[in-house]
């Protein structure tokens, strides 16, 4: 920490106070945002923090001027938070920032216009980031992390301020997205539901009027929720929307969307090109796509096993696992095509024995009972048309389109 003289500290603090008050009185959202964003670690913020640590009695400075004292309480919390943040006491920083945020939201509520929306965004963002950091600190100290949860309830409060009618509603989606991030992180995804309901059922505000940025984020998260629910058509819609409107320069965001969109698309029978996977570095899906193409059950299983942790964490494991049935379908189709080459007349009769043999080539050991079971499931799920003659252990395929394509519909529909 660079040495800061008393006078210099005094100067910096006064300057900050001036800028803050000017920004508020001029309704200069941009400046206000810069004054508030801790995590940007901008030099001006850091230098202010240093100054505050040198010049401990900032509150007296605030009191000195009527101009400052109007927002004195707000700024005092902010200063305290900044001080703690600078010295690495993140829990303290969070607590002070929480107070600041509450005070600010109170002020914001009183402002007629939504000029400070951007500043509020910054605060929402900062409080979440600070909470995450504070939780990390708490965990490392062996205490239970709870700040993010607290941040969640604060964000919910902010959402309440914005969710009503009026110009401020535009900001609701941003807060919603921050809430999503919080809840996904906390694993309390079910809490998203109330927010979603409030967004989607509101008639007074068209969804399209929200900023694109927020819409993409919102669609991304709600799409993920649909993936959890294995509601693939809905997930497809939402994630595709997110992909469509996502800024094409933000590759990282696109990749995040694709991480979920690809399994969804696979589940409804749409296989991506390899270039897409390569472009966005989604190599974990390479083998899976390959397995689907080839009907290689072994490859699919290996791929799943290889990336099990990743898939489990992202929550697509179960979705990918269900691709097995499509792989079986592809395998049967291959057998059927081969049979057709040798004996077109009886090609539509697939002996279970043959399928079992094919699986054995893939080093998957299955007896006839199990194969029969899988065949019945395939037929039941409409991946294979035909019937299974139990007595003769033969799958009798329909002569017409025995292996219907999914064409964008989920399996079993």
């Amino acid at each position: 920490m660079a040495y800061v003289s008393m006078g210099e500290a005094h100067r910096r603090i006064t300057e900050y106070l001036n800028r803050f008050c000017d920004a508020v009185s001029n309704q200069d959202s941009f400046t206000l945002c810069r004054l508030l964003s801790f995590s940007s670690n901008s030099p001006s913020i850091l230098s202010l923090a240093d100054a505050l640590n040198v010049f401990q009695d900032a509150s007296s400075l605030i009191r000195q001027s009527d101009k400052f004292s109007e927002y004195g309480e707000i700024i005092a919390h902010l200063f305290r938070s900044l001080q703690s943040y600078r010295v690495g006491n993140l829990v303290e920083a969070y607590l002070a920032f929480d107070k600041f945020a509450n005070a600010f939201v109170q002020e914001f509520r009183n402002w007629e216009s939504a000029w400070a929306l951007e500043a509020l965004y910054v605060i929402c963002y900062e409080i979440r980031i600070l909470a995450e950091k504070a939780d990390k600190e708490l965990t490392s100290n062996g205490k239970s992390p709870e700040k993010l949860k607290a941040a969640g309830s604060l964000l919910m409060k902010v959402f309440g301020v914005l969710a009503g009618k009026g110009p401020k509603r535009v900001g609701a989606l941003y807060v919603t997205c921050q809430l999503f991030k919080t809840y996904f992180k906390l694993g309390t995804v079910n809490l998203c539901r109330s927010v979603i309901r409030s967004i989607e059922t509101a008639r007074i505000f068209d969804f399209e009027e929200f900023p694109t940025r927020d819409k993409v984020t919102y669609m991304y998260y709600t799409g993920r929720l649909e993936v959890f629910n294995e509601n693939f058509p809905a997930a497809d819609t939402k994630l595709s929307y997110a992909l469509q409107y996502c800024n094409s320069k933000k590759e990282r965001n696109i990749r995040m969307i694709l991480k979920y969109l690809i399994p969804v698309k696979l589940s409804i029978g749409i296989i991506p090109k390899d270039e897409l996977l390569q472009k966005y570095n989604l190599n974990e899906y390479m083998n899976i796509v390959q397995a689907l193409r080839k009907g290689d059950l072994r490859l699919l299983r290996h791929a799943l096993q290889e990336h099990e942790d990743r898939f489990l964490r992202s929550g697509v494991y179960l979705v990918l696992e269900k691709l097995e049935l499509q792989v079986y379908q592809r395998l049967m189709k291959k057998i059927y095509i081969i049979q057709k080459l040798s004996d077109p007349a009886r090609a539509h009769q697939l002996k279970l024995e043959v399928i079992a043999k094919a699986l054995r080539w893939l080093e998957i050991d299955m007896d006839l009972d199990e194969v029969e079971c899988i065949m019945t499931i395939l037929i039941y799920k409409n991946l294979v048309k035909g019937y299974l003659a139990h007595k003769s252990k033969v799958v009798v395929l329909s002569k017409q389109d025995p292996f219907p394509k999914l064409n964008g519909k989920p399996v079993g529909s």
Binding site: G187, V189, F228, N229, E230, D309, L312, R313, G315, Y317, L318, E321, K322, E324, L325, D369, E370, E372, C373, I374, M375, T376, I377, L378, I379, Y380, Y387, L388, A389, H390, K391, V396
Partner: protein
């Protein structure tokens, strides 16, 4: 017996009057109805306590019989009377009958129901519905409310009037009682399954019933009864003078009976009483409580009522020694002064009459007094209640204290009815307002009671000989307060001195010992002997500070141990006295501390003391602060707004549940941990009484709202219990207050207990109960080690075995915590269970994903976990072949969890196969694939049950016609389904629980 029968027969002609009366009174009862309803609806927690409940119910029933002098029951009422008189000890018999024959009681019920009265009919329907809905608790409950409400409107009004106006009309009361009772039962019916529940409601009801009914019914019975001899004079004069007033004889009976009732009713009440309802209910039944209730009431009635009881007591004391009259009157005056001037003026007159010829004048006295009350009421209404509460309350405790005997207390209660009858116009409105009014009304009747008292005293008082009876009572009281030998000795010394002084003064016979505050003894103690001072200090300390202790053992035990010897009538009496005295103790000590000058605090104390009739110890906790006491007062005030019966029913469903669990706990304690301390009564009935007593008393010690508050700021670390109980077996009670170390088993005993459970051949319910109690003891002692893990693992396994998923989940969540703390255990086994559970039951993908991602590499190598993962894969892919193969090879208890999914899996499999396979599938194959262990019979039965169409081929083998089955398959309703969703709560299991 015969007489009772005769009475009933003769009475009927009077009925019409009674009925009319009843209608007039309706208003008061109507209020009650909602409450009853709520209580009736409860019943959730009934599972555990079947035994107790039965007992209680029996008790109730017998009492009901007693009250139901109606034609059908003609014999029954008589028996009821006999049973309940304390002296005859028939009481025990009654209880025995009740306990012995649950079934009998029930049969007894039916007759009741059938009885011709409209209300009764109603009850009948209620009963039938009750029984029918028995298994389904909630549905039945919901259905009940309407009947209850209806009933109450008609029947409830009934009761008060009948009791009041037609003292002579026996029929009126019986019908009333019948109807009334039925409702009570009825309510219980809602909770009927839970025996505890019934107890509670019944208790509340009984109290109310008694107070209201008893006068009238007793009169009828009484005249015929042997007691007549005593009362003749008074009765004659009485009846002649005052139409409404009850006969003295009647009182006597009541008096004697009451104690029993008291104890009985009280006990049932106690479980239910807990917070609000209990006090109110109690107050109704008990003279003192009634007074307290009245106090808060805005009507101002309470005050008069109070005065009356008080006066009565003095009257009683006078007969033996007539001297006191002056003193009494003086005290009366003073007392009244506080309340209202009007009353004062009136009051003096009655006492004079009374003194001159106690027996004859009493009736006279009554009438004026009543009239007086009426007049006074309006005036008092506004100002009195608030202002005068303090003085009243203050007075009361001291006065009541002398009458510590249950009998006396009962006396006070009894009177209410007669007076009500006389007062009816004025009392009527009051009735509506609250139970308190009723209580107040009761008191005047009391006046005539003096006759019986000597007799009861003779039995009750150890040394009846030369000393005035009141003095005996005084001494008795004083001793009752003593906690141990030391105090006894000091108290004895003090008493000796006081008596000697009195003898020297020549005031031995003149002094009003009943009104003499015990504090005089205590004071003398203080001044004279050191030990006495310690006594006092201990008392004082006790009330404010010793909450944990007081909550539990000492108080409860004392009544049983000490009081029993003092009273020949019975242990229960002694117990009762003791408790009262305990209350008084606390109260008095409190008084001393405050030097009696500050009326407010004392008042609150008294209040508490009164309340503590049921819950003696509770208030002591709060003695420290007047604010607390005031709060208490406020709460009690709110209570008082309700009618007595209403109070008992005021509890919500949750409340009753809690009560149930509490009462269970008491039962257990009674049964096991306390076995050593409490002399086990020879007579099973007595035992029941005991247990009921226990249940009644314990709740009093439990915290109420106020208690909770103090509980919050306890340093739990400092209070961690070290158990001392050596019993291996202990039933589970859900704790509602600080644990009692003597009821908690230390770790080594718990280890034995765990072994015992593991080796036990008994059914799951027993084991579950035992394990829960072990868990509780562990929790209470904050034991977190391998034993804890073992207990939870054992319980989780047993729960799995029995398919008790809720319990299993409880254990599992605890185990997760314990494993998280790094305690060794079969964590992998339970990881597998939890995985299976999520897969098969919760059907929550996110949960499944997160629990899968939490598995470590090592965990995935574990056999059980691998198995669970395979099962998951089989389930998510719908691979039934794999599933049933895994089912057969399941390690540990995985198969038990899979059991719960087998049905679904089979159904899915058959659905899939019937859709996919053509034309047929042999049943033998299905049996093989679907895990029927090649048992075709079972398999085909199962298939048929699920709507599959089976055909036989030429060889006679059964085949599944897949095409036909495609559309015909269905999932049958599970046969053992219970409406409340937990078949473990099935009634049958419930009854086998203690077997």
């Amino acid at each position: 017996m015969n007489q009772g029968g005769g009475n009933t027969q003769t009475v009927p002609p009077l009925d019409p009057n009674s009925i009319e009366n009843r209608y007039g009174v309706n208003g008061s009862q109507v209020q009650i109805s909602p409450y009853q309803y709520s209580t009736g609806s409860d019943g959730a927690s009934w599972t555990t306590h079947k035994v107790d409940n039965q007992v209680v119910q029996n008790g109730n029933y017998s009492s009901s019989n007693y009250y139901h002098p109606q034609p059908t029951v003609a014999t029954v009422p008589a028996t009821g009377n006999v049973q309940e008189t304390p002296n005859t000890a028939s009481f025990s018999s009654s209880s025995t009958s009740g306990t012995a024959n649950t079934s009998q009681d029930y049969s007894g019920y039916t007759p009741y129901q059938t009885s011709s009265d409209p209300p009764q009919n109603y009850s009948n329907t209620g009963y039938s519905s009750y029984y029918s809905g028995y298994q389904q608790q909630q549905p039945s409950q919901s259905s009940y409310p309407q009947p209850v409400g209806a009933y109450q409107n008609t029947g409830a009004p009934y009761q008060p009037i009948s009791s009041f106006q037609n003292p002579g009309s026996y029929a009126g009361t019986p019908s009333y009682s019948g109807t009334y009772y039925n409702p009570a039962d009825y309510q219980t019916t809602g909770g009927y399954q839970t025996t505890n529940y019934s107890n509670q409601t019944a208790g509340g009801y009984q109290n109310t019933n008694y107070s209201n009914q008893t006068p009238t019914t007793n009169q009828g019975n009484y005249t015929s009864n042997p007691y007549q001899n005593y009362t003749h004079d008074t009765t004659n004069s009485h009846s002649s003078t005052v139409a409404a007033t009850t006969t003295p004889v009647h009182y006597q009976q009541n008096y004697q009976q009451w104690p029993d009732y008291y104890s009985q009713t009280e006990v049932p009440c106690a479980p239910g009483t807990e917070k609000l309802p209990a006090p109110s209910a109690v107050s109704q039944s008990f003279p003192v409580p009634g007074v307290t209730n009245e106090m808060p009431a805005s009507n101002g009635q309470p005050v008069p009522s109070y005065a009356q009881p008080w006066r009565q007591e003095t009257n009683l004391s006078q007969p033996p020694s007539q001297q006191p009259a002056a003193a009494v009157s003086a005290s009366n005056d003073a007392y009244w002064m506080h309340q209202t001037q009007n009353q004062q003026a009136h009051y003096p007159v009655p006492p004079q009459n009374h003194y001159q010829s106690p027996l004859e004048t009493k009736p006279l006295h009554k009438t004026p007094f009543q009239g007086h009350q009426r007049t006074t009421y309006p005036q008092e209404m506004n100002s009195q209640s608030s202002v005068h509460q303090a003085p009243l309350g203050y007075r009361q405790p001291t006065q009541t204290t002398p009458s510590v005997d249950t009998q006396r207390v009962s006396k006070v209660q009894i009177p209410t009815n007669p007076r009500i009858a006389s007062n009816l116009p004025s009392g009527y409105t009051k009735m509506d307002k609250g139970s308190s009014a009723a209580g107040a009304i009761k008191t005047p009747a009391y006046v005539s009671v003096s006759m019986p008292k000597p007799k009861s005293h003779a039995t009750a008082v150890p040394e009846p000989g030369t000393l005035p009876k009141s003095l005996c009572g005084f001494v008795e009281r004083a001793f009752a307060r003593c906690k141990d030998d030391k105090e006894n000795a000091s108290c004895q010394a003090a008493l000796k001195k006081v008596i000697a002084d009195a003898r020297d003064d020549g005031t031995l016979h003149t002094r009003d010992w009943d009104t003499e505050p015990l504090s005089t003894v205590l004071n003398t103690d203080v001044t004279n002997t050191e030990s006495s001072s310690t006594l006092i200090s201990s008392l004082q300390n006790k009330s404010p500070t010793k909450r944990p202790k007081s909550r539990w053992e000492p108080l409860v035990e004392k009544p049983f141990v000490k009081a029993a010897p003092a009273f020949s009538s019975g242990v229960k009496f002694g117990g009762w006295n003791q408790q009262n005295q305990n209350n008084k103790k606390s109260f008095e000590s409190f008084q001393k501390a405050d030097a009696v000058t500050d009326s407010k605090p004392t008042y609150s104390w008294q209040n508490s003391a009164k309340k503590s009739f049921q819950r003696p110890v509770k208030r002591q906790r709060f003695s420290g602060g007047a604010s607390n006491a005031i709060d208490d007062e406020a709460s009690s005030d709110s209570d008082k707004d309700l009618t007595p019966s209403a109070m008992s029913f005021a509890t919500s469903a949750e409340e009753t549940k809690r009560r149930d669990s509490r009462s269970k706990r008491f039962e257990k304690v009674q049964g096991h941990s306390r076995r050593n301390e409490i002399p086990r009564p020879m007579n099973p009935n007595v035992g029941n009484l005991h247990s009921r007593r226990g249940t009644a008393l314990r709740p009093g010690e439990d915290f109420d709202e106020n208690g909770c508050r103090s509980v919050e700021d306890i340093d739990w670390n400092a209070l961690t219990v070290k158990g001392t109980c050596q019993e291996i077996e202990k039933r589970y009670f859900r704790l509602t207050s600080a644990p009692d170390p003597s009821a908690v088993r230390p770790e080594d005993v718990l280890e034995k207990a765990l072994l015992m459970v593991q080796d036990s051949q008994k059914n799951y319910l027993y084991k579950c109960d035992q394990l829960k109690s072990i868990r509780q003891d562990l929790t209470v002692q904050r034991i977190h080690n391998h034993l804890t893990v073992k207990v939870y693992e054992t319980h989780a396994r047993l729960a799995l075995e029995a398919g008790d998923l809720p319990e299993y989940n409880q254990c599992l969540s605890q185990l997760k915590i314990l494993y998280g703390e790094g305690i060794e255990g079969c964590s992998l086994e339970f990881a597998a269970y939890s995985l299976l559970y999520i897969t098969l039951h919760s059907n929550n993908n996110r949960e499944l994903l997160s629990s899968m991602s939490r598995l470590s590499k090592e965990a995935k190598k574990d056999e059980a976990v691998r198995h669970a993962l395979s099962v998951r894969a089989a389930v998510t892919s719908g691979n039934y072949v794999m599933f049933f193969r895994l089912y057969k090879t399941a390690p540990n208890m995985n198969s038990f969890l899979m059991d719960l999914y087998v049905e679904k899996m089979r159904y899915k499999a058959v659905t899939v196969m019937s859709r996919s396979c053509r034309p047929t599938i042999p049943v033998s194959y299905l049996a093989y694939v679907l895990g029927f262990t090649d048992d075709m019979e079972v398999c085909s039965e199962w298939l048929k049950a699920h709507g599959a169409s089976l055909i036989a081929d030429s060889n006679g083998d059964m085949l599944l016609d897949t095409k036909a089955s495609t559309t015909s398959l269905f999932m049958p309703e599970p046969e053992d389904a219970v409406a409340h969703g937990d078949k473990n709560l099935d009634v049958n299991d419930f009854f086998t629980r203690t077997s």
